[in-house]
Symmetry: C2
């Protein structure tokens, strides 16, 4: 199909598609003349992925590049795959220091993670920012939040294991992690209403 048809199929305007091409987020079509190129099913899939990451996942251009590189070269082992996926995912604060209370939380939970992991740093930054904003966040609340997110992670891992081969597993982990965050945020709002309505 031509670029105008690619735009129609994906509902992404031609000027945005040209921007994706310039930024290297969309692979070039097969040139059929000096000014025309032909696009196929893999271009449709790529455009949908990039649009979802940028518009709904809140990922910047650099983040999309990292995600696409990770998807292009999935490592063979599952646990390594998660490491590569997490490095590709943009997570604010993942270079900052580890706070004492987060180190204590991880130890108390007995989670077998590297105590200096980027996710531990990102958690320290997020907890610090919440405290700065005056949110009461007790050690008990943090622990209950952590236990609920372990249930979420179990669903995530089941989906990755069910994927057909390392490329599909990588897609599920990276894209699933980014795109399910807004689903969880919306579910939390809805659950707050449900839990509040049920309490006397």
């Amino acid at each position: 199909m031509r670029i105008s048809e690619l735009a129609e199929t994906t509902r992404v305007p031609v000027h945005t598609l040209k921007y994706y091409l310039r930024e290297g987020l969309l692979m070039p079509g097969e040139a059929t003349s000096r000014t025309r190129a032909e696009y196929g099913a893999e271009h449709v899939e790529r455009v949908r992925l990039v649009r979802a990451l940028v518009e709904h996942g809140g990922v910047g251009i650099a983040g999309v590049h990292s995600i696409l590189s990770a998807l292009a070269a999935p490592p063979p082992s599952r646990h390594e795959l998660l490491g590569v996926a997490h490095c590709a995912l943009p997570t604010p604060g993942d270079q900052g220091p580890v706070s004492e209370e987060v180190a204590d939380l991880v130890a108390e939970l007995g989670w077998p993670v590297w105590p200096e992991a980027p996710a531990v740093r990102a958690l320290s930054a997020a907890v610090g920012a919440a405290r700065e904003a005056g949110v009461p966040l007790s050690a008990g609340s943090l622990r209950r939040y952590a236990e609920a997110m372990a249930d979420v992670a179990a669903v995530d891992l089941d989906a990755a294991l069910a994927a057909d081969g390392p490329a599909a597993a990588m897609h599920t982990v990276v894209v699933g992690t980014v795109m399910v965050d807004p689903v969880l945020v919306a579910l939390r709002r809805l659950a707050q209403e449900a839990v509040s309505a049920r309490r006397p």
Copy 2:
């Protein structure tokens, strides 16, 4: 204190404080001369809140205005409070249509919520975007995510109930909802690593 001291105390530059003043996000100080004003503890608290919402919560200026208005006029009943809080919170897709699968999910969960609630619409948008990006999201996975987020919501509501009066409860619900989202996102990444390391 003078504006330079307010900047030092909050570690927010003077030009950003002037921007907050112009946008009405920070209340004016008490004028002590034609060019000087005096700021107090309530200004320090307000600057910390605004900065946390903007920098870490990803809330825009309009969203901060809604949140500040809601905090200024908390309703007397707890369930109403949650409604006001949710209206103030910026949630993408909360004006869109309700999808059939999300309507089915809410019915299956038996959650006592308005079937056309903004959170139901936001959830429909988020699930649709995840599907568009090629994330496999089965009805069973969605249900398990929902149950985990009900546990999160129970912690949220306990914190709001423990607050001292309606103003503090409003602060906990609104600010806690925005600022705990990044905490949950970071916990999810960390829990994925922990769950993956534990599985054989």
